[in-house]
């Protein structure tokens, strides 16, 4: 009651002080909201378990015949391992004017895969099996003329019609912007492939 009487007795109101108090409490409130947002947003990020699944995986090549395709899971993504036939490998050297990035200028591969085969060894192709457009899994269609008259074999994405050649290089005029991604990999020995790490 004493405080109330004092406030009522004081006829002039200090508007400056009032504005200062309003502004500082608004600012502090805003800081508090930002602080509260930190745990809420951090909670949404991929956790430690998701990061664990990024450890390298091994693949045994002995069962893989020329023309075969196998799929391995790494980081939850399908990784293709394909052993190309000699004809398929030689055909890759021919410059195809319909490819949009035939020399792999865009960073979609480790340095050691920046060659016409986009691989360490000409016959073994290792690719992330996800279309660079919207992440569908394209299908391996090695047989010529399977998709249209000009088809030389490659990968076709049935979602949005993107086309890639047998080195995962994207054709012009399709929705996918870049070549298929080559993951880091190396050969531990002749028959053992390690996906998910560069050679130490």
């Amino acid at each position: 009651m004493l405080i109330l009487r004092m406030a009522m007795g004081n006829e002039s109101v200090d508007l400056k002080k009032r504005a200062f108090l309003t502004r500082t409490s608004q600012a502090l409130g805003a800081i508090a909201v930002c602080g509260a947002a930190i745990p809420l947003v951090q909670y949404l990020k991929p956790g430690r378990e998701a990061a664990m699944s990024s450890l390298p995986v091994e693949f045994d090549l002995s069962g893989l015949k020329p023309g075969d395709q196998r799929t391995v899971l790494w980081r939850g993504k399908p990784i293709w391992v394909i052993r190309r036939t000699m004809e398929q490998v030689t055909a890759l050297n021919k410059i195809n004017p319909n490819l949009s990035d035939p020399n792999s200028q865009i960073e979609q591969q480790p340095e050691y895969a920046k060659n016409p085969y986009r691989s360490l060894r000409p016959d073994i192709l290792v690719l992330v099996g996800l279309c660079t457009h919207l992440g569908c899994a394209p299908t391996f269609r090695p047989e010529p003329k399977a998709i249209d008259e000009d088809w030389d074999g490659g990968f076709f994405c049935s979602c949005h019609g993107s086309k890639f050649d047998l080195a995962g290089r994207v054709y012009k005029g399709v929705p996918a912007p870049t070549n298929l991604e080559v993951p880091p990999y190396y050969f531990k020995n002749d028959q053992l492939l390690v996906i998910g790490a560069h050679e130490a």
Binding site: V41, L44, K45, P46, G47, A50, S53, S54, T71, L73, R75, G76, K77, P78, T132, H133, L134, G135, C136, A137, P138, T139, S158, C159, H160, G161, G173, V174, P175, A176, P177
Partner: protein, 402 residues
């Protein structure tokens, strides 16, 4: 003092209903196109009730989601019914929303002073899409998984910030169980709450500015001595009774579909979604739900990833700008000129053809057709300011016609 008075002086429930039903005057010439607003509320109620029941058996983990729904449909009494009601309900909701939206385009219901009513409606459409998309992922079938992936990658296409945003939404570097569980949280709690709040705002805006009508004239401009619009009739009982007839007709069609063709031959529930999700095998054809197909066709039609995503997003958002693009002095198509009518017809045709093309596999001919349709679709919005200003409109009557 009656019981009613006792309540009302403490909590004015009956005052509220009087004010918004018995004393809310709607134009007397509202035709069948005006059924779709109340039908949308009916459909939303069906979704909420069937959804709560589905929750009692659904388990949101990658291992159990698919099986729990199959179990519900085979072993739980009437589980099949509730699941199909919820699935058919989702498609029906979009049929209703698209008719509701077309009605507004036809009678100029977005024009001044109904801009905020219109904007809240566009937001409701976007929210309904987010709700439908997150819901479609929950059964964790093949189409659930791959549709989730495709849409997540649309976010990922945004330069620089796209990938972190994508990881933040899906909670993993790929679409995984973590994604499933947070979509569950969005679909069941977050989006429905926002949706209901937005429906409330939509109705508050409606009751503030009043319903438009097929003649597109303001009934509030012609009031009697009692201050009541001469062309208005109380919403209750006139339109509540009329809407009940619509509700009955809707429920007959709705349950005919639920009982005889709940998957609508793959249009409401794709065949592939009865196969459990497999991250290694993409189904031969990825089809979006029909209500998202027009935007998907636009995405596919653009040969550039980022521009395609932007075109797709702007196709949805362009509706929001209509109140400011339409410069016609009249609202209703009844009094708009030939050019306005033709361009609206073209919009509808392009939208329907995009819908069909979005559901068809991407062949070169279809992609060219989709490009033509997309140009016509965006052409409507771009040409609207010019066409609406220079068209030969006729003048509407002072009073509504029946």
């Amino acid at each position: 003092m009656s019981f009613n008075q006792w309540i009302n002086s403490r909590l004015p429930i009956s005052d509220f209903f009087d004010q918004h039903l018995r004393q809310y005057y709607a134009p007397k010439n509202l035709n069948f196109w005006y059924f779709f607003g109340s039908l949308a509320i009916l459909c939303l109620s069906i979704q909420i009730i069937s959804g709560i029941w589905l929750l009692m058996y659904y388990e949101p983990t990658a291992k159990t989601a698919f099986d729990s729904i199959e179990f519900m449909m085979r072993e739980v009494p009437y589980g099949w019914l509730l699941r199909y009601v919820h699935a058919v309900g989702a498609s029906s909701f979009f049929v209703i929303l698209y008719f509701h939206l077309y009605r507004a385009l036809m009678y100029g219901s977005y024009q001044r002073p109904r801009e905020l009513l219109w904007l809240s409606g566009v937001l409701l459409l976007i929210l309904a899409m987010a709700e439908a998309y997150t819901g479609y992922v929950l059964p964790w079938g093949q189409m659930s998984y791959w549709a989730a992936k495709v849409i997540m990658n649309i976010f990922g296409a945004i330069p620089f910030i796209g990938e972190p945003i994508m990881h933040l939404i899906q909670g993993d570097y790929v679409v995984s169980e973590v994604t499933l569980q947070r979509f569950f949280a969005f679909h069941v709690v977050a989006f429905p709450m926002i949706l209901l709040a937005m429906v409330f705002l939509h109705l508050v805006a409606l009751h503030t500015v009043g319903s438009n009508n097929p003649d597109g004239i303001e009934i509030k401009d012609n009031k009697g001595a009692d201050g009541i619009p001469k062309d208005g009739v109380p919403f209750h009982p006139y339109f509540t009774i009329k809407d009940l007839v619509a509700a009955a007709a809707f429920l007959i069609i709705f349950f005919t579909i639920v009982f005889y063709n709940p998957t609508m031959d793959g249009l409401f529930l794709e065949k592939e979604n009865f196969i459990p999700a497999n991250p290694l095998v993409t189904p031969p054809e990825i089809k979006p739900s029909w209500y998202l197909a027009p935007y998907y066709a636009i995405l596919r039609a653009v040969p550039n990833q980022l521009l395609g995503a932007l075109a797709m997003i702007s196709a949805i958002i362009s509706f929001a700008f209509l109140p400011w693009l339409d410069r016609s002095p009249v609202r209703s198509m009844r009094y708009k000129g030939v050019r306005s009518r033709v361009s609206l017809a073209l919009l509808v045709i392009s939208f329907l053809s995009l819908m069909a093309l979005g559901l068809l596999p991407p062949s070169p001919v279809y992609i060219i057709l989709a490009r033509i349709s997309a140009v016509i679709f965006f052409g409507y919005f771009i040409s609207l300011p010019y066409i609406s200003r220079n068209d030969r409109h006729s003048s509407p009557p002072d009073r509504v016609r029946m």
